[in-house]
Each structure stands twice: as structure tokens, then as C-alpha cells.
């Protein structure tokens, strides 16, 4: 479904990504794990067009169409949604309005079915439709950000650190929901620092270190890998 070939991105003189190639197949959950500053978020931002087009020989293919350098809203219209790092809900809008913005790419009256699907995954949002998003708790904001992305009916969902700053209980809940969303038919590319949980729910994973992919494989294999256990699972 999604294929990255030879992606390099620099911020000024600093190289953030160095010749990254990865692939996400339809129906999978793929995790991208690594430490702070490894380039995980940059990878997602490059895919969704928020980062400037990378080097010339790079190629990003989504549904067999090359999307490198395309504008972010065009990419969303193609069925690729990005839940950015730090949630980024619209704070002065209500929960309902936030979800409505998620359906922006479709003109005309909003489809109640879209709302129902989001409420099915996140019953808590339904209780708070009139509340301002800025007054929600961190976990609820994460749910709202994910729900908002689902409103665009994406085929591929990019999730950037969904566990960031959340209580362990909530993190478990969010990860269960991610699994549910995947079962319901959305392919997921997940960026996580919490390698333990990420490997638990994903099919395959890539390990990113200072802008390079150092390891890739099936998630259960990586979870058993000696180096990974030392570096990321704290054992």
C-alpha cells in the first residue's frame, strides 16, 4: 500500500533521515520504533507531505501513485491520514466541530455514519461532543485526534506517538483501540517510543537509529532480539 525508497531529509546542515526505505502492506500494523531524535516523526511528516519534498532519487508510492512533493491536503484526499505528534486538536472548537473538521475533504452535509464509527471506537467522545477540545484530558485529546483522522475515511493511518504523556492504563486502552481500528479495515503505520507495546500489537517493525533503519522484521522476532531487548525494552 505504501512504499518508501531512498528517502533523505535534512534540516539545514543536519541530516534527519538517511536513505530510508520501508514498506507497509494492506491490512498491516507496522511499527517504527527508535529513540528520541532518530527520525521517526520526520519519516511520518515526509510521507504526509508536511515536510518539504526530499532528495531527487527518492520515491514515495501510495496505492501505486507517487506522492512525494504532493500537497498535504491532496494526500489526505487520497486516503492517507496523519495524526500528528502532540495530538494537536483545535482547542477552541468543540469535540463535534473537531470531528467535523476531520470530514472537511468531503463537501456537503456531514455523514452521520462517519460520526457513529468514531463514537463506536471512542464512546467517551460521544459523552463530550459539546465540550471544548482544549479542556479535554490528554487521553481524550489523543482519542479526539485519532477520531478526527478517521473522519476522513483513511485507508492508511499514520499515528505519531499515541502514548505520549499518557497514564499506563490509558495507553493500554488506546492501543486496544488501535487494534480495533485495524481489524475494522484500516492499515496502520505507528511511530512509538514504547517499543514493548508497539511490538505487541504490530505485525512488522522497523528500528530507526539516527536517521537510518538498522533492523527490520516480524514484530515477534524483534521482540525476542537480544539487541532490541537491551536497547528498547530495558532488559
Amino acid at each position: 500500500m505504501l512504499k518508501l525508497e531512498n528517502i533523505s531529509v535534512s534540516y539545514g546542515a543536519i541530516k534527519a533521515l538517511h536513505n530510508i526505505s520501508l514498506e507497509v502492506k494492506s491490512g498491516e500494523i507496522v511499527a517504527l520504533i527508535g529513540a528520541n531524535g532518530a527520525g521517526k516523526s520526520t519519516t511520518l511528516r515526509t510521507i504526509s507531505g508536511l515536510e518539504k519534498p526530499p532528495n531527487k532519487d527518492s520515491k514515495i508510492t501510495f496505492k501505486d501513485i507517487q506522492i512525494q512533493g504532493a500537497l498535504p491536503h491532496k494526500i489526505v484526499e487520497m486516503g492517507l491520514s496523519h495524526v500528528p505528534e502532540g495530538r494537536r486538536v483545535f482547542p477552541d472548537m468543540s469535540v463535534y466541530e473537531n470531528l467535523l473538521m476531520g470530514a472537511h475533504i468531503r463537501k456537503g452535509k456531514p455523514d452521520q455514519g462517519d460520526f457513529d464509527r468514531v463514537y463506536h471506537h471512542f464512546p467517551r467522545l460521544k459523552e463530550r461532543i459539546k465540550q471544548l477540545a482544549g479542556t479535554l484530558s490528554g487521553g481524550e485529546q489523543q482519542m479526539l485526534a485519532m477520531g478526527r483522522a478517521l473522519m476522513a475515511r483513511p485507508d492508511l493511518l499514520l499515528l505519531d506517538e499515541p502514548s505520549m504523556g499518557l497514564a499506563p492504563m490509558l495507553v493500554e486502552e488506546i492501543f486496544h483501540i488501535i487494534e480495533d481500528i485495524n481489524v475494522a479495515g484500516t492499515t496502520i503505520l505507528l511511530v512509538e517510543q514504547n517499543a514493548h507495546l508497539a511490538l505487541e500489537i504490530s505485525n512488522r517493525a522497523y528500528v530507526l537509529e539516527t536517521g537510518e533503519i538498522v533492523l527490520e522484521g516480524l514484530a515477534p522476532d524483534l521482540a525476542q532480539n537480544e539487541d532490541i531487548r537491551k536497547a528498547y525494552l530495558g532488559e
Binding site: S48, G49, L50, L71, P72, H73, V76, E77, S81, H82, V83, P84, R88, V89, F90, P91, D92, M93, E97, L100, M101, G102, H104, I105, K107, A145, R148, A149, M151, A152
Partner: protein
């Protein structure tokens, strides 16, 4: 009743009724009020039209612009040239003023709207200065001497009717899909593009509509004073309009109305203070901003406030009956 109001034809007829009523009432007021007060009312209307445009750019979409006077001057000169040199009828001239300003808004919008915040403010400021200097050196605008002989065709009913049209369109826009997208851009630009909003398109749209309003305001201004010169449209003019928007409450349409009334009327009311006038005016601004940091009506949901006040009086009445 509610369903009936949803019908666009009903809405349109209602809109026409309101316009007719505005024209009728303001015409009647025009006959009664002394010319001096009428003139203040007229300037309130012109300032309101321009401030509503800037409110869309700065208040709703969140793009700080310090160049609103430039669009105003473009509208003023374009309409004056149209009516004086080419004998276009007055209202046609106003439309031309708006359209030319709008065109410049789009042309300027493309390169500058990649910038945000302070950087955009400086860029628009620079643009305004270029426009002012250009008008000072052009032959067709009669340079620094100023453009003379414009007909004083602007009347109180015309200004008020155009102000009401602007007002209705702004309220309608703010509740539309486009308006919500503009609000989202103010809230969080990155999140906006992540949900599929074409941020550049909506920012330029806001800029174009805002510039159009400024151009119309400028055209009305030119046909009120009958004489315009480049110094009428300096940096201070941009700041004046921005003050209306900020003092009223960024993004609040009722706030912009209050702001336009207060800031246009205040210098006139303070006139007896003679030399101390502008000083007191400044103090007034400082005091308002200290006590209402988000503007007079900033952060106030008018519909909710009215409902609450209504409930309160109802409760009081119920209490009395017991």
C-alpha cells in the same frame, strides 16, 4: 419555524427585507440627525466595513496583517479614477475599488502567506509602504498633491446598507465550510493541513475577501471626503483598523461592531478636551485592554450570554411569583 429558516429562499427574502429596512430607517435618521452626527455615523459604517474585512484575515484566520490601509488606498484611488476620469457611476466605482483591492490582495497573498505571525506582519507593512510611495509618485493619482474633485456621492443610507450586506455575508461565511476551515487554520495550521485543509487556498481567500472589504471602504471614504492624498493611508490608518478588531475581540463579529462604534466615536466625544484629546484616547485604549485583554467581546459567546440573561430574568420572575 426552524425548518423554514433553513430554506435558502426564505433566508434570501429575509435578507432583502433587512436591507430594505436598513435603507428606510437610515434614510429617516438622515433627515433628523444634524450633519455632524451623521458624518460620525457614516465613518462608523465605513470603518465597520473595513474592520470586518480585517477581522476575517486577522481574527478568524489568524494572519496578522498591518497593510489594511494599503488595500483601502487602492480601493479609494481606483474608484476615484473610475468615477472622475472615466465617468463610471458611483456604485460602479465602489465595486471597482473593491475588485481592484481584491486583486491586489490575491497577488500579494501568494508570496507573503507562506510567512506566519510577526514575519507576515512585517511583510504586509512593507507592502503598505510600497503602495503609499507608489501613489505619491504616480501621475494619475496626482502624487503628493492629492486627488481632487471627487463627487461627494456617499450617503449615510448607502454606507449603512453596504455595512449590513458585509455583516450578513461575514456571519454566513463564518458558519460555512470555508469559514470553519479558516478558523481551524487560526487554531492550528499543521493540524489543519493534516486533516486535509488546503491552508494556502483558505488564507488567500480570507485575504482576498478582506482586501475587497477594505477597497469598498476606501472607495466610500474617497467619495465622502472628495479629496484623497497618500498620507491619508499611512501606517497609522492600518493600526486604527487593527485596533478596532483587537479592541472589539479578535474573531468576534459583534465585537468588531462595538469596536468600530467606540473607536470612531471616542475621538469625537473627547473633542472638548482639546489638546489632551489623543492622550485620553490612548489611556482609554490601555484601560480597555487591561480590563478586557481579549477585547470587549472577545471570548464571549453572545448567543449563550443572551440565553443565560433570559433564563436569569425568568428565574427572578418565578421567584417573585412564589
Amino acid at each position: 419555524m426552524k425548518k423554514l429558516l433553513d430554506n435558502w429562499l426564505v433566508q434570501f427574502l429575509l435578507f432583502l427585507c433587512v436591507l430594505g429596512l436598513t435603507a428606510f430607517i437610515t434614510d429617516a435618521i438622515g433627515d433628523v440627525l444634524p450633519p455632524y452626527l451623521l458624518m460620525i455615523g457614516l465613518f462608523i459604517g465605513i470603518n465597520l466595513i473595513m474592520a470586518l474585512g480585517l477581522n476575517l484575515i486577522t481574527g478568524v484566520t489568524g494572519q496578522l496583517s498591518l497593510g489594511h490601509a494599503a488595500f483601502m488606498s487602492i480601493g479609494a484611488y481606483a474608484s476615484a479614477i473610475a468615477t472622475v476620469n472615466y465617468h463610471v457611476p458611483f456604485l460602479g466605482g465602489v465595486l471597482i475599488g473593491g475588485l481592484v483591492a481584491c486583486l491586489f490582495g490575491i497577488v500579494i497573498g501568494f508570496p507573503t502567506l507562506r510567512l506566519t505571525g510577526d514575519y507576515l506582519a512585517i511583510a504586509t507593512l512593507g507592502f503598505a509602504e510600497i503602495v503609499r510611495v507608489q501613489f505619491t509618485n504616480m501621475k494619475i493619482t496626482n502624487g503628493a498633491i492629492g486627488f481632487l474633485g471627487i463627487q461627494g456621492s456617499t450617503t449615510f443610507p448607502i454606507v449603512m446598507t453596504i455595512a449590513v450586506i458585509t455583516l450578513v455575508l461575514m456571519v454566513w461565511l463564518e458558519n460555512s465550510r470555508n469559514g470553519r476551515a479558516m478558523l481551524a487554520i487560526r487554531e492550528d495550521e499543521i493540524a489543519s493541513s493534516a486533516v486535509g485543509i488546503n491552508t494556502t487556498l483558505y488564507k488567500i481567500q480570507a485575504f482576498a475577501i478582506g482586501a475587497f472589504c477594505a477597497g469598498v471602504g476606501g472607495a466610500l471614504f474617497a467619495h465622502t471626503t472628495t479629496f484623497i492624498q497618500p498620507t491619508d493611508f499611512g501606517f497609522m490608518k492600518s493600526v486604527d483598523i487593527l485596533s478596532i478588531v483587537v479592541l472589539g475581540g479578535l474573531g468576534s463579529i459583534p465585537g468588531t461592531i462595538i469596536g468600530a462604534i467606540v473607536l470612531t466615536a471616542a475621538p469625537e466625544i473627547l473633542r472638548p478636551l482639546a489638546n489632551y484629546r489623543m492622550m485620553v484616547y490612548g489611556v482609554l485604549l490601555v484601560i480597555i485592554m487591561i480590563f478586557r485583554p481579549y477585547g470587549l467581546l472577545g471570548g464571549v459567546n453572545l448567543r449563550q450570554a443572551v440565553r443565560r440573561a433570559f433564563m436569569l430574568t425568568k428565574k427572578k420572575q418565578a421567584g417573585r411569583e412564589e
